[in-house]
């Protein structure tokens, strides 16, 4: 401040400044009272009306005081922003195009199998592939179809790579390489079918005239079991992640190519379900196929009794081809959608087979029951101890000093006797 003022008033003030006794405070003592100077001497810098020849000095000319080179950081930020936004724009476009390609290939199949496709809520005669997907996020698309014999509804979910964020994709890929717990990002289609399994009456809303229709086709029930065709590359992870697959045998069959295997609970089930249609469709899908699972057990291992009630589901998962050509994959999807018919028609097994299947489930129920009982017994024992202690404390507090002493002594003796007994028993 003092310096500025000095400059402002010219050099004279510094000359006139009298050094005070305390030299540290010299500036503050003298600066606020500069000696008045003649107006003419400062006239040039103040820009008096008389000196209009140079109306703009460096003080006012921004372009003379600053240059673009001072804004390098801002430039870099702007450039990065442009890059991020373009990547985002093109990435989302790519993901949308990918989902649309899937929809284009599969909408006819879905529309021919289901009366309602997409989230419109009203069955339409011709469904456009543009409208079937609901975009959950920039990389997740889902659709839904309902209104079919034997099937309550089918969910389809596409999970794509995060193309709009290459940095994240790179980090995820790298961490997928170093840690097994991180999944490498891939373009994936997952479909889950929820078969009626004979519970049409409970699920379908009642409509006039629907009851008569229903009485004819109550044969949508089929036996509960777990059965799967799995790509061998992932069978280790699947077995670890899913409870339902971990109660099956893994057995290669000669009917399938060597990169696929069957997980089944019984050979008879495999014979019934491994139809020629399915084999050709799966073979056609090739390496992109991940799994087809027919299950009546939960994915997470049940810890409570009511979690063990069988819920029948069908799962299909495959990777999306990079060239968006679904000629090889749509037959698989078609077979998957029609498979509930096959299940309802022929998945009924001999009592011996089912006994084997059921024994595993019963065993789990039994272990859960046992665990529950043990927990309860422990709780009860804890409560009993607590009650006993409370009773003793109450008794103790109601006694006078002498009896208290006696009581404590007695207690100690009892404990001693108990301990010595235990020791002799051990010896």
């Amino acid at each position: 401040m003092a310096n500025f003022l000095k400059n402002f008033v010219g050099t004279k003030s510094s000359e006139t400044a009298v050094p005070s006794a305390d030299s540290d405070f010299a500036d503050f003592a003298d600066a606020p009272s500069p000696t008045p100077v003649a107006f003419d001497s400062a006239g040039a810098t103040l820009g008096s009306p008389g000196a209009t020849a140079t109306p703009f000095t460096k003080w006012y000319n921004v372009h003379e005081r600053h240059s673009l080179s001072e804004f390098k950081a801002e430039g870099a930020i702007l450039l990065a922003m442009v890059l991020v936004f373009t990547l985002h724009f093109f990435g989302t476009r790519l993901n949308k195009a990918k989902a649309k390609a899937w929809a284009k290939a599969h909408t006819p199949i879905l529309a021919s199998e289901f009366s309602l496709v997409g989230f419109g809520g009203v069955p339409q005669s011709d469904v456009s592939p543009d409208s079937i997907f609901k975009q959950k996020s920039l990389f997740e698309f889902s659709t839904y179809a309902t209104g079919r014999q034997n099937v309550a509804f089918t969910d389809v979910k596409l999970t794509l790579k995060k193309r709009f964020n290459p940095l994240m994709t790179f980090v995820e890929t790298a961490s997928g390489f170093f840690f097994e717990s991180f999944a490498v990002p891939q373009d994936i289609a997952e479909a889950i079918t929820y078969p009626f399994d004979g519970r049409e009456a409970a699920i379908v809303p009642a409509m006039p005239g629907a009851a008569e229709l229903r009485t004819k086709d109550t044969k949508s029930t089929y036996d509960g079991f777990v059965w799967a065709i799995v790509n061998k590359e992932n069978m280790k992870k699947l077995r670890e992640d899913r409870y339902d697959l971990s109660i099956t045998f893994t057995k290669d069959t000669t009917k399938l190519p060597n990169y696929l295997t069957v997980m089944s609970e019984s050979a008879e089930i495999t014979d019934t379900l491994l139809t020629n249609d399915l084999i050709t469709a799966v073979q056609k899908a090739g390496d992109l196929f991940e799994y087809l699972i027919i299950s009546d057990q939960p994915i997470d291992k049940p810890t409570k009794i009511d979690e063990t009630t069988p819920r029948k589901r069908m799962y299909l998962k495959y990777r999306l081809p990079s060239d968006n050509n679904y000629d090889m994959l749509s037959p698989l999807f078609n077979v998957f959608l029609r498979f509930p018919d096959h299940l309802a028609a022929s998945a009924h097994f001999r009592a011996e087979v089912l006994r084997k299947v059921r024994s595993v489930r019963d065993e789990l129920v039994k272990t859960i029951q046992k665990n529950d009982e043990e927990n309860k017994a422990e709780e009860r024992a804890l409560e009993r101890d607590k009650a006993r202690k409370a009773k003793r404390d109450a008794e103790l507090s109601s006694m006078d000093a002498k009896t208290q002493k006696k009581f404590l002594e007695k207690e100690r003796e009892k404990q001693m006797r108990k301990q010595s007994k235990r020791q002799t028993m051990r010896a």
Binding site: K232, K236, D241, Y243, F249, N258, P298, T303, V360
Partner: protein, 192 residues
């Protein structure tokens, strides 16, 4: 080499190089840079070896099913776990593990050398990992062309090191053990 187990050989090499390392004048920047170059070259050779093995594995793509029972880790009450995989996936996982452990070693070494300024381990660390890599089962099978039988039969046995007594048991692949564990329903257990 001399009919000794690899562990003893390693021990001899470590002790030997430690003596030699004492004599090396690390103060000379030329010598220091040469040691660094040696370390880097050795690691590049190892990386190349593993990449080559991975390439071979992918080329063979042996999709034979491999089932074995993984013993429960020490001190846990869990039952042994069945692993169902393929030879291709098993080998890939093994290469990944060794690659990862080598990367860990390099990171450790970088910390020791650049931050704590230790130079001696550079020499040991450019010999031992290379030797381990060359002696690893996968290199024996895929590079040196040994048949995958006997000691090289998958699943590989954990190397019986000096800590052998403390380590977990070896994986079992006999039919009886596999069948006992196959339908145990271990999957999907929620971990808290």
């Amino acid at each position: 080499m001399f009919g000794l187990s690899p562990q003893i050989e390693n021990l001899v090499i470590i002790l030997g190089t430690m003596q030699i390392a004492k004599k090396i004048p690390f103060d000379d920047p030329n010598v220091l840079n040469m040691c660094r170059a040696l370390y880097i070259v050795s690691n590049l050779i190892i990386a190349g070896l593993y990449l080559y093995v991975q390439m071979k594995i992918n080329k063979n793509k042996d999709m034979t099913t491999l089932k074995y029972v993984e013993p429960a880790p020490m001190g846990s009450a869990e039952e042994p776990k069945l692993v169902t995989t393929t030879i291709h996936a098993y080998d890939s996982a093994q290469v990944k593990t060794s690659f990862r452990s080598q990367m860990m070693g390099v990171a450790m070494m970088a910390g020791m050398h650049l931050y704590m300024k230790y130079t001696n381990p550079l020499i040991i660390q450019s010999i031992i990992p290379l030797k381990t890599a060359l002696e690893s089962n996968l290199v024996k099978i895929h590079v040196l062309g040994h048949p995958a039988s006997g000691d090289l039969k998958r699943p590989f046995k954990a190397a019986a090191g000096l800590m052998g007594g403390l380590q977990q048991g070896t994986p079992q692949s006999d039919k009886k053990a596999v069948e006992a564990a196959e339908r145990a329903g271990r999957g999907g257990a929620k971990e808290e």
